[in-house]
Symmetry: C2
Subunit: 192 residues, 2 copies
């Protein structure tokens, strides 16, 4: 147990990222980008490092991969470390800025294997990404008793009004299959 006066929280990728994720190619289409996010979600389940959720952040126009994120709540004892949040903080660490929306930076986009929860949707607004693409929907997650929290149609409108594009259901069956795999493997439902 850490001492209360000076706890240190350290967030790193699990070791399999180095073998699985190719940071040196360009990801050209929405499907290629989503396929990466889904492969991260699947590896997280198969390697036993967390819940069935994966994400990735790209430079929107070049398709350059900036970061990935995987649910790390249980692995790192930290409720804030959903896949999207890990992707945001890693991207900001890489570019050296608290926002991905800076005059010196190209536009960025988030791909996530499953619809963001309330926390991650709020974080999306602060992250500076200009575009959000998701695979599985909240109904798919609910079927596994993963809760999305207070997200309403107006929540999406709020983001869209601020210039963030939302794209739904890209490779949804492939994304949902990882949720089903997790259920089969009887994973821990930490938001249940």
């Amino acid at each position: 147990m850490s001492h209360r006066t000076n706890p240190i929280v350290s967030v790193q990728y699990p070791p399999w990222v180095a073998e699985l994720v190719d940071f040196n190619r360009a990801y050209a289409t929405d499907e290629e980008k989503m396929r990466l996010a889904i492969s991260v979600s699947r590896a997280n389940v198969e390697r036993g490092t967390g819940g069935p959720f994966g994400a990735a952040i790209f430079e929107r126009d070049s398709g350059r991969l900036v970061s990935v994120g995987m649910n790390s709540v249980v692995r790192l004892n930290n409720c804030t470390l959903h896949g999207e949040m890990v992707a945001f903080m890693m991207a900001q660490q890489v570019v050296g800025s608290f926002s991905l929306n800076m005059p010196s930076l190209p536009p960025h986009e988030l791909f996530t294997s499953c619809e963001p929860c309330a926390m991650c949707l709020g974080g999306t607004l602060w992250s500076g990404v200009k575009r959000v693409v998701y695979g599985a929907g909240r109904e798919d997650a609910s079927r596994l008793n993963f809760e999305e929290g207070p997200v309403f149609p107006e929540s999406y409108k709020y983001l869209e009004d601020r210039g963030i594009e939302i794209v739904r259901d890209v490779l949804r069956p492939e994304a949902r299959a990882v949720l089903e795999l997790y259920r089969t493997m009887s994973g821990k439902i930490y938001n249940g």
Copy 2:
């Protein structure tokens, strides 16, 4: 700039926490607890380590202080590090669990100098705290052009329906005074 393949995000308190915050006393009343959260928000501004937002997590019944949190977005180049989120992750690091709502743990509560944004309200749900107490309101923050994001009356109802008590306006003028101090000092409005 960190290498993309293995970024490391490290979150620690700024050094003034060790001098300012007394982890060895019990905080008996809501006012004492809120006064600590406000003193953290004020120190963050006066020491130049971040935005005017402070938080603290206590064991609800004993008044034992578990963690504090201060806005660390600019200091650590990380949009997720609002005061409440830092408090959650530090508390979970201290107790060694991804949730503060465990059979082995006493009930915990969050005190925050200002009404939580959409991200932090979502995080509140996952954190496991049973009670949220805030000082300044969203209108006070909006006056400084700090945005709260997609938070609606139904968002609070969602948390309350899940057994989380919400208490508003505790020491609100003192909390608001720190927002005003920040404005006077022309702090950076990173969500603007």
